[in-house]
């Protein structure tokens, strides 16, 4: 497994299995996984991983919906098609939101449902991933990125009340940090 630290995020490449992810000790709050081939991952582990996780590959079509939905963000050049069956609805709702889930649920079941799972990029893929993340993370300190990430990670695994509490906690931490500067 290879870790490459960038500005505000770390690229994880050259891995076979998510078991290797347990060894990750990155300074950044955002990890970008760029697989070269298919890999295994454990849903419980990924649910609790203390980083924002981005899965990035020119095409993610060969990966199962289960794998895709373990990540917080999915970047590719092409959309993702899957069967819109009821088994994925709850997870899909968590990832794509209530309104998107309504479309998923109200479209007759088909193998060819175009999901909202992918944020599509164009051009040179590696450059596009860097541009996407740089635009989002720019002008923010690591401390601030981690504070916001903490709220989003709580949203991944916790209740709405837990997220509301985490927002308040991190808000005051950031106010305190601003006062120290």
């Amino acid at each position: 497994m290879k870790l490459t630290e960038k500005n505000g995020y770390t690229i994880i490449s050259d891995f076979d299995s998510a078991v290797e992810f347990a060894d990750i000790n990155a300074e950044t709050a955002v990890l970008v996984f760029m697989p070269e081939k298919s890999f295994c991952a454990d849903a419980d582990f990924m649910r609790n991983i203390p980083y924002i996780t981005v899965l990035a590959s020119e095409s993610l079509q060969d990966y199962s919906p289960e794998i895709l939905m373990m990540f917080d963000v999915r970047l590719a050049k092409e959309p993702y098609f899957m069967r819109n069956s009821a088994e994925y609805l709850d997870t899909y709702r968590k990832i794509c939101g209530k309104n998107s889930a309504y479309c998923y649920e109200s479209t007759p079941e088909t193998d060819n449902f175009q999901t909202d799972l992918i944020h599509q990029l164009s051009g040179n893929f590696t450059d596009a991933v860097d541009e996407y993340l740089t635009n989002i993370l720019k002008v923010k300190s690591d401390y601030q990125i981690k504070a916001i990430a903490s709220c989003l990670i709580t949203a991944r695994k916790g209740s709405a009340d837990a997220v509301l509490d985490e927002e308040s906690k991190q808000f005051y931490r950031l106010i305190r940090k601003k006062a120290e500067v």
Binding site: I52, D72, V73, R74, R93, K94, I95, C96, G97, K98, N99, S100, Y102, C103, S106, D116, H119, N135, I136, L137, V139, K140, S141, Q144, I145, A147, I148, A149, C151, L152, A155, R156, A160, V163, L164, D165, E167, S168, K169, Q170, F171, Y172, R173, L174, I175, R176, K177, K178, A179
Partner: protein
């Protein structure tokens, strides 16, 4: 006599809450005093079943440009001095947060009719509503991250719930503002209207929802909107 910054009118059991504060509904400390009083009253009325819906809008061109940053910083610094730990939130913060986030949990329809700027704490009022009707002039966003903080009134929780984690990451972390069209494409805006039509459309939508035979379910708003748009497609 000073003009009120937050007007409540109840017509046919629907509460119309209109922001009319100076500087495009800038949410100052004084604004929040009125806001909290108004929302406490609204919460009581809703609990007693004396209102059947809420529509929130801004008088003038803008919904709200959000919190007065200076006033927010002063209040927050004050709170910090009394906090014994990271989670020892002040009563005033708990109350203020509750009186924004409770909108989400109400069992009656809550619609925000958005025009112009709807940003920061203004956007948090809208995202805590069940439905957002935006006109084409709307510019929405959570720019708190661009000045070193984050949305603390439910902006992250509700964005993640309505739009999913990816969009919440993008909106909240970047702090960028979105056009009305972009807001519609990511489904922040449930309905997009021509300019100055957000409030009239919100009223029609409210009447449509309340005319349905079934009991209102906040989890079914996408279905109500779909039905409403089909019924009024030719208008």
């Amino acid at each position: 006599m000073e003009e009120q910054m937050f007007i409540t009118e109840i017509t046919d059991n629907i509460a119309f809450l209109t922001m009319q504060a100076p500087q495009n509904n800038l949410m100052t400390a004084e604004f929040f005093v009125e806001y909290e009083k108004t929302m406490q009253n609204i919460e009581n009325l809703a609990e007693k079943g004396e209102i059947s819906g809420i529509i929130i809008s801004g008088k003038g061109r803008h919904f709200s440009v959000g919190a007065d940053v200076q006033s927010l910083a002063e209040r927050s610094m004050n709170d910090l001095q009394n906090m014994k730990s990271d989670t020892d939130f002040s009563d005033s913060h708990i109350k203020q947060k509750h009186l924004v986030t409770f909108l989400h949990d109400l069992k009656i329809p809550v619609i925000s009719a958005v025009s112009g700027f709807c940003i920061g704490s203004g956007s948090e009022i809208a995202i805590n509503s069940h439905i957002r009707v935006c006109d084409k002039s709307a510019r929405i966003g959570q720019p708190e991250s661009t000045f070193g903080i984050l949305p603390g009134l439910g902006g992250i929780a509700r964005t993640a719930e309505y739009l999913g984690l990816t969009t919440a990451f993008e909106i909240v972390m970047s702090g960028e503002l979105l056009s009305a069209q972009q807001a519609y494409e990511i489904r922040w805006a449930d309905i997009l209207t021509e300019k100055k039509q957000a409030l009239p459309t919100a009223k029609k939508l409210m009447n449509y929802i309340l005319s349905l035979p079934e009991k209102y379910d906040p989890l079914s708003t996408a279905r109500y909107i779909s039905g409403f748009l089909k019924e009024y497609a030719d208008e």
